[in-house]
């Protein structure tokens, strides 16, 4: 095979890898993604026909001429889109690079264009890893480096061979390319830890541009029928790294009370939607009773289009792991934690948990809006009559807030209210929020968490207990290899009711769903989640590098300098310095001393002084040769010399013994 033929395929492979990397990020517009196969097919047929058809040839020429203008147009368009705040720059750049890829497929297949395509593919990969922290990119990256090394080597041979004659690839080309790739990987592993890191830490700072449909929203809308019949994509939202002792369900329940991860509290209900109200940040991130921490648990939150950080009720302290700025995180008075950076980014944070005995510090006290019933409903006597009748029935015997809360829980349990998933189809639901809520509460007694929590909050408010809806996640599956993955389908709503003694008490009356049986696909998905989690934790935001890179760098510099000095000083007038640095390497005078030689000399000197003996002179002669001659330690000459020294020494010793006996 000729280098030209191989590089023809290699550049296509690189193109393909870059396209796969970009499409896999899910940030590429679907129109762009869908046009990829069509563009590929068209480019393939046009380039095939270009040999025979003048029309195809002129089309290829036209596309090549258009390429420059298209690039300019794309740059200008991208700048305009970014300035109009339509999308973040990285997302725009990624989409633009996809289009550039497609244009290059139409270009003539020559070495110059192949270099261009290699560069464009590389930029595509850089953009992909900048906007997505997923593990699949590690595989793509690995393949890309292997193919790139092969391609660069092949391009080189192509360039060299074409200059002279059209030579074929050497027989051991592939073994050479494999060796090159292997060496690049080894070198990269050496270089990776010594590269300087920014002071504010490492981590993934790109992130999705658009709000991901995660099920979690800051506004809970009960109106409309938007969820019905629409299955939500169940992508991972949170990854929780647990130590071994916390992976059992009972232990996990102790660590994360109620399996609930709190997002934000929504306090105002207008009859259709729950809204958040403004809360001031509370200064300290530290609980007053911050002692008795039972575990520090690491969370990774995917880019979810909200600044909210999800925490369990047992949280005592929150610390961002990726960014060292203390002002990066704030806590609001109603207990919500928010990050101050871009909301479209992956966040890694460490929670100090107090276990089931702990309570999230909620510094706010109830205000009037927390006891409000929707005004439109309150003005309607029929509606109010129906709700008050039910409230009277539930809370008839309860006097304190705590008793009322217990009564409410008992009511929902005794009346066998049935939970449902958001995607389930249940008859009788319509577009009106009030209708849906009453249909759930009085008629069908089946619905999803938002209906449970809204009904409970409104009933408690009617009974004079301040209550609010809380939006967050509830765990439904067990950890895999110590990593708990919280998915979009785990989004949940529950309520917090006010008790003068206990404070805000979380109440989750929605029946618990157990994890479904895992199908083969879900097993694969779980494995992928696990790899994603480890990839992020140990590579993308590996903390140890931040602290250790100066030491790695110093060690690397030391090794390089030693090697350089060793090479420079070998046989030079700076031999004394070399003998200091490498005392046991060379025997000769100009190359330092050697321990085995020194030991023999001490032994020799320890012998009783003899008068002239031929063996003694011979010993000194051999020693001088080894010590001051240019003999390489460990070489055959060296070994022979040592053997000779030992032999002479043995004879000398026996002579001394004989002499002493005499």
């Amino acid at each position: 095979m000729k280098p030209r033929e191989l590089s023809h395929w290699l550049v296509r492979a690189l193109d393909l890898l870059a396209v796969i990397a970009l499409i896999g990020t899910a940030e590429i517009q679907s129109a762009v993604s869908w046009s990829v196969p069509f563009a590929m097919a068209l480019a393939w047929s046009v380039s095939n026909q270009a040999k025979h058809s003048g029309l195809a040839r002129s089309l290829v020429g036209l596309m090549e001429r258009l390429l420059v203008w298209a690039l300019v147009a794309m740059v200008l368009g991208s700048v305009a889109l970014v300035r109009m705040n339509v999308a973040p720059p990285l997302i725009v750049a990624a989409n633009a690079s996809m289009l550039v890829h497609m244009l290059t497929w139409f270009s003539v297949d020559n070495l110059r264009n192949r270099n261009w395509r290699l560069g464009i593919a590389f930029i595509g990969i850089v953009l992909a890893v900048s906007i997505s922290p997923d593990f699949y990119l590690a595989i793509v990256l690995f393949l890309f480096v292997v193919v790139s090394a092969l391609a660069l080597f092949c391009f080189y041979l192509e360039r060299e061979f074409e200059k002279r004659s059209d030579l074929p690839l050497p027989l051991n080309f592939y073994s050479q390319a494999l060796m090159l790739t292997l060496l690049i990987f080894i070198l990269s592993l050496v270089i990776f830890p010594i590269l300087p890191r920014p002071k504010q830490g490492v981590g993934f700072r790109g992130g999705a541009g658009e709000e991901t449909q995660i099920g979690y929203t800051d506004i809970v809308d009960l109106g409309g029928n938007k969820f019905w019949g629409e299955q939500k994509r169940s992508a991972p939202v949170l990854r929780v790294f647990l130590s071994k002792e916390w992976v059992e369900p009972d232990a996990l329940r102790y660590l994360i009370p109620g399996y609930l991860l709190r997002g934000t509290a929504l306090e105002k209900f207008d009859g259709t939607k729950w809204f958040r109200t403004t809360h001031a940040p509370v200064g300290s991130n530290q609980r007053p009773d911050g002692a008795d921490i039972i575990a520090n648990v690491e969370f990774i939150r995917e880019p979810v289009g909200t600044p909210t950080v999800f925490v369990p009720y047992s949280t005592a302290r929150v610390r961002l792991a990726d960014f060292d700025q203390p002002t990066s995180l704030e806590q609001l008075s109603h207990g919500e934690w928010r990050i101050l950076q871009s909301e479209h980014q992956q966040v890694r944070y460490v929670l100090s948990l107090k276990g089931d005995e702990g309570r999230l510090r909620l510094s706010d006290t109830p205000h009037e809006s927390l006891s409000e019933f929707p005004s439109e409903w309150a003005q309607n006597p029929r509606i109010m009559g129906r709700w008050k009748e039910l409230a009277g029935k539930i809370f008839s015997d309860a006097t304190s807030n705590e008793q009322k809360i217990q009564s409410l829980i008992r009511h929902f349990a005794s009346e066998n209210y049935e939970g449902a998933l958001v995607g389930d189809r249940i008859s009788g639901y319509g577009n009106s929020a009030r209708h849906n809520l009453e249909h759930f509460l009085f008629d069908i007694k089946k619905g999803h968490c938002e209906y449970f929590s809204t009904s409970a909050a409104l009933l408690l408010r009617l009974a004079g207990v301040p209550a609010r809806l809380v939006s967050g996640f509830r765990l439904t599956s067990n950890p895999v290899a110590g990593v708990l993955t919280v998915r979009q389908s785990d989004s949940h709503a529950w309520i917090e009711a006010w008790d003068p003694i206990l404070g805000w008490t979380p109440i989750d009356i929605t029946p618990m769903y157990l994890a479904q049986t895992w199908s083969g696909f879900q097993v694969l998905e779980g494995a992928r989640d696990l790899l994603d989690a480890y990839w992020y934790r140990y590579v993308i935001s590996a903390r140890w590098i931040i602290t250790l890179w100066p030491y790695f760098l110093a060690a690397f510099v030391l090794v390089v300098l030693s090697l350089w000095g060793y090479r420079r000083m070998r046989g030079s007038s700076f031999a004394w310095a070399q003998s200091f640095a490498f005392p046991f390497r060379f025997s000769s005078g100009s190359k330092g001393s050697n321990f085995s030689l020194w030991r023999r000399r001490r032994r020799f000197e320890g012998l009783a002084p003899l008068q002239y003996a031929p063996d003694q002179c011979a010993w000194i002669k051999v020693y001088d040769q080894l010590r001051f001659g240019r003999v390489l330690v460990g070489g055959p000459e060296w070994k022979e010399g040592l053997r000779r020294l030992d032999e002479l020494f043995a004879r000398l010793r026996s002579s001394v013994r004989n002499a002493s006996q005499l």
């Binding site: 660069l152 060496l183 690049i184 990987f185 830490g201 700072r205």
Partner: protein, 303 residues
């Protein structure tokens, strides 16, 4: 014969692809540092790894090369059929290695080795073509490679100064030798009779050496075995108006010598500069002189 054995000097010429690669590496380094994304650092490591590997392997390649160069007579506009033995002493194979002469701060390639396995050698014939007659000088001999990725060309050269004579261009039609200032005379017999003893000339066959006489005289002498029945005598007038004319005259004058070399006959060169005549015997001697001879002023006349 000259050898490339020493460590020598190094030169590095970065190629266009190498410049782009460097720019990409620096750009990505800036992006990685500002973003803190370790995957970008990983990519940067790969790029730097490729760069370092490129430097190390090219150094190993050029350092492992040993060259033994045997030169042969060189004619302008023709390939110099020098015999270059390229030896790879290293443990790695060598790809796309150029060997040549270092002159004017650049390597003039003489031979190209596409692939040389470790611990092996290859004989390369020089493909260098001298442009014009005269003295060709070089500052050293060296080798170069851009292995493994072509980012830069690494040159290793050793200062071994030398020079060689480039004989005048050989005319395609050797018969057309008549030109202004050049006269070719064909003699019935040569300057030497059969059996005559004379000092050995550089183009003489060593089988004609009379060893006994040589030993006695202290210098090699040969016996001319064959009478040169069609010996040529070329008279070259060195007085010219223009330099271009002179070069043409030189080429015409050299033509009978090339023909004689092929036919195995004798040829004599007579140089005339308007005042003196100088007779040169032997083909090699004549061609050597023709390689360096310079025109004489036009106004000179025989006295």
């Amino acid at each position: 014969m000259s050898d490339l054995k020493e460590y020598g000097h190094r030169r590095l010429h970065v190629s266009v692809a190498g410049k782009w690669y460097l720019a990409l590496t620096i750009g990505l380094g800036v992006v990685a540092t500002s973003s803190g994304n370790n995957v970008l650092y990983l990519l940067e490591s790969f790029l730097l790894g490729g760069l370092i590997l490129s430097g190390v392997l090219s150094e190993l390649a050029v350092a492992s090369i040993q060259i033994q160069w045997t030169r042969s007579p060189c004619i302008a506009s023709e390939r110099a059929h020098d015999r270059i033995i390229v030896r790879n002493r290293g443990r790695l194979p060598v790809f796309c290695m150029e060997v040549g002469e270092w002159a004017g701060r650049k390597l003039i390639a003489h031979g190209f080795v596409p692939y040389l396995p470790p611990k092996s050698e290859i004989v390369v014939s020089s493909k260098w073509i001298a442009e014009k007659r005269g003295i060709h000088k070089w500052d050293g001999i060296g080798c170069s490679t851009s292995y493994p990725f072509g980012f830069a060309t690494k040159i290793r050269w050793v200062a071994l100064k030398g020079e060689r004579l480039v004989w005048p261009r050989r005319l395609e039609k050797s018969g057309q030798t008549d030109a202004q200032g050049v006269k070719v005379y064909r003699t019935a017999s040569g300057d030497f009779l059969e059996g005559e003893i004379r000092e050995m000339q550089p183009d003489d066959d060593y089988r004609h050496v009379v060893w006994t006489l040589s030993a006695r005289r202290g210098a090699p002498v040969v016996r001319v075995r064959k009478a040169n029945s069609r010996a040529a005598e070329v008279l070259l007038d060195l007085r010219v108006d223009r330099a271009g004319d002179f070069e043409e005259r030189i080429e015409k004058a050299a033509s009978p010598f090339y023909a004689s070399e092929v036919e195995g006959t004798q040829a004599t060169l007579i140089l005339f500069d308007g005042i003196y005549r100088r007779k040169i015997f032997g083909i090699s001697t004549a061609l050597d002189l023709l390689a360096t001879v310079q025109p004489a002023p036009k106004g000179r006349h025989e006295t």
